[in-house]
Amino acid sequence: MILIGIIVALIGATSFTNFGWQFFSFHWDPPQNQWGIGVFLVGSFLTAVPALIFSMLIGIGIAVASTTYLPEYLTRWLDPFVDLLAGIPSVVYGIWAFVIVAPIFGATIEPWLVGNVYFIPGFGPPIRSDGLGILISIFILTLMALPITTLLIRDALRSVPKDLWESGLALGATRWEVVRRVAIPHGRRGIFSAAFLGFGRAFGETVAVAMVLGAATNLPKNVYDTGNTVAAQMFELLDSAIGGTGSPQFLAALAEMGLVLLAISLVVNILGRRLIASLYTEQVQGL
C-alpha cells in the first residue's frame, strides 16, 4: 500500500544524493577552491564524540540513581522531566544557548578553563568573548542526546530480572556493587545501543549547532574556537543556495555531504536498533 512510500523515500534519498560522486576529496581545505569536507567532518566528530561521552556518563548516573537509589515517588516525576529534554525543538535550544548560555561561557566558564586547565591540549588560549564555539556546542549536544541515553540505559537496567538483582544483594553486595557487577553486564546491549543512538542524535543535529558553533569554515584551533559540522554546514549552504546560486560543483559538494551524513547516520542507527532488537527478543524468550 502506501506504506511503500516509506521505503521509497529512503531509497529515493540515497539515489538523489548520488548527484555527485566525483569530489571525494577529504582535504582539509576550506571549501572555497577545493571542496573538501574534511573540515566539517572534523567539526562533526569533535562536537559529537565528547557530547556522546558526557551524555553517556551522565545518563548512566541518572539511570542508576533512578533505578537503584531513589524511591519511586521521586522517580515517578523526575524521569519524565528528563524525557522532556527531548521534546524541546532544536531552534528553541539554539536561542536559549545563544542568548543565555553563550555569555556565561564567554564571560565565566571559558576564562576559568583557560586559566586553570590550559595545560590540557586544546584548552589553551585564545578564547572568544562571545562564548560560541566547540565547547558550547558540546554542551548543547550533550543535553540533546541525554534523554535518549538515559531512557535506553534506564530500560536496560530495569530489564534485569528481580531475582538476579536480589541474588547479588543476598551475597552481601552493596547496591553499587550489584549495579556494577551484575546489572550493567546484564544490560550491556542496552547500554551500547544507547551509545549508538545517542551518537546518531548528536552527529545529526543541525539547527542548534548551526546557531551556536559559529558557522566558520576553518578548523577549530582549540576548544573555544568556532568551526562547523557537516550537518550545520549543509543546512546553511542549502539555505542560501535556495536563493539560486547553483554551480554544479556546489550542488555536488552538497550532495556528497548529504551522502556522508546519511551513511554515518544509517550505520549508527542500524547498529543501535539491532542491539535493542536482540535484547528484546532475548527477554521475550525468557532468558
Binding site: 524511591p71 519511586e72 530480572p161 531475582d163 538476579l164 536480589e166 541474588s167 547479588g168 544483594l169 543476598a170 551475597l171 552481601g172 553486595a173 552493596t174 556493587e177 557487577r181 551484575v182 553486564p185 546484564h186 532468558l287
Partner: protein
C-alpha cells in the same frame, strides 16, 4: 508450640523472637518465635500466602527491599539482633546466604559466579581458588564442571545452575543458608540432586527450606514449621509433625486438604 530438637543439644545459632511483619493494612507475619538449632534442616511449610517466603526473607533482611513493610521483633544470629540499628544488612547477608526459586546465575563464567562474593572483599587469588573449589564440591557440582570452570554459567542446565547458586552462596562461608523453594523450577532428576546436596549440607550448617511440597519436607528435613496466615501454628521434629500433628490445621494441610 513444641520445639524438640532432634540432634544433640547445641544452642541455636539462629532464632526468631516475636517477629511480626506489617504491611499497610494487614499483618503478614504475626508474632513468630522459633529456634533453628545448629546443623539441621528446618522446613517451613504452609499454604500459599501464609507468609513463608516473607518469613524467610526476614532472616537475612531481604524483606527490607519491599517498600511499605514494617518489621518488629528480633532475629538473633549468634546472640545479636540483626535488626539492631548498628547492624548493616550487607554484613548480615554474608553470614546468612540465600538461594532463590529460579536459578539466578550471573552472566559470567562458572568460576566467577562462585567467586563473586569473595571478589567483593578483594580476597587474594589463592583464597578464592580454594574457596571456589570447596564450595563447588559442597554443592555437589564439582565433578560436573571441574573440567572447564571458565565456561559461561549460562551454558549449564537448570539443575546445575541452581547448584551453582548454592555454591556461590556457600563460597562466603555462611553459617546459615536460606532456600526459597529451590526446586520448584526444576525437573525431578535435578530436584533429586539438589535434595541430596541439602542433605549433605545440613550436617555442616543450618538450612532453612521453604517448600510447598510436603513430601520434600518429609524427605530432607529434621524439623518442620507450619505457618498459616502469618501465624506459626506448630513446629517440631519432622516425624512428629507429619505423623502426629497436634493442631488440626496442621493435619489438614499435611493431608492435602488445602494449600
Amino acid at each position: 508450640m513444641s520445639d524438640a530438637a532432634p540432634t544433640p543439644h547445641e544452642p541455636p545459632i539462629l532464632n526468631v523472637q516475636g517477629l511480626s511483619v506489617l504491611a499497610k493494612d494487614r499483618k503478614i507475619l504475626d508474632n513468630v518465635t522459633l529456634d533453628f538449632p545448629g546443623h539441621s534442616l528446618t522446613a517451613v511449610v504452609g499454604p500459599s500466602g501464609c507468609g513463608k517466603t516473607t518469613f524467610v526473607r526476614t532472616l537475612n533482611r531481604m524483606v527490607e527491599l519491599t517498600p511499605g513493610l514494617r518489621v518488629t521483633g528480633k532475629v538473633n544470629y549468634a546472640g545479636q539482633n540483626i535488626y539492631a540499628r548498628e547492624v548493616n544488612p550487607v554484613m548480615v547477608r554474608r553470614r546468612i546466604g540465600m538461594v532463590f526459586q529460579r536459578p539466578t546465575v550471573f552472566p559470567m563464567s562458572i568460576f566467577e559466579n562462585a567467586a563473586f562474593g569473595l571478589r567483593l572483599v578483594h580476597e587474594s587469588e589463592d583464597v578464592i581458588d580454594r574457596a571456589v573449589t570447596e564450595s563447588l564440591v559442597r554443592a555437589g557440582l564439582w565433578d560436573e564442571v571441574k573440567t572447564d570452570l571458565d565456561r559461561s554459567a549460562l551454558s549449564l542446565s537448570g539443575g546445575q545452575q541452581q547448584r551453582l547458586c548454592i555454591a556461590r552462596a556457600l563460597a562466603v562461608n555462611p553459617k546459615v543458608l536460606l532456600l526459597d523453594e529451590p526446586t520448584s523450577a526444576l525437573d525431578p532428576a535435578a530436584t533429586q540432586r539438589v535434595e541430596q546436596t541439602m542433605e549433605r549440607l545440613k550436617q555442616e550448617i543450618v538450612l532453612v527450606l521453604v517448600t510447598h511440597n510436603v513430601s520434600q519436607a518429609a524427605r530432607v528435613s529434621d524439623r518442620v514449621a507450619f505457618l498459616h496466615t502469618g501465624h506459626l501454628i506448630e513446629v517440631g521434629a519432622t516425624a512428629d509433625i507429619l505423623e502426629r500433628p497436634k493442631n488440626p490445621l496442621t493435619e489438614q494441610f499435611i493431608t492435602g486438604r488445602f494449600g
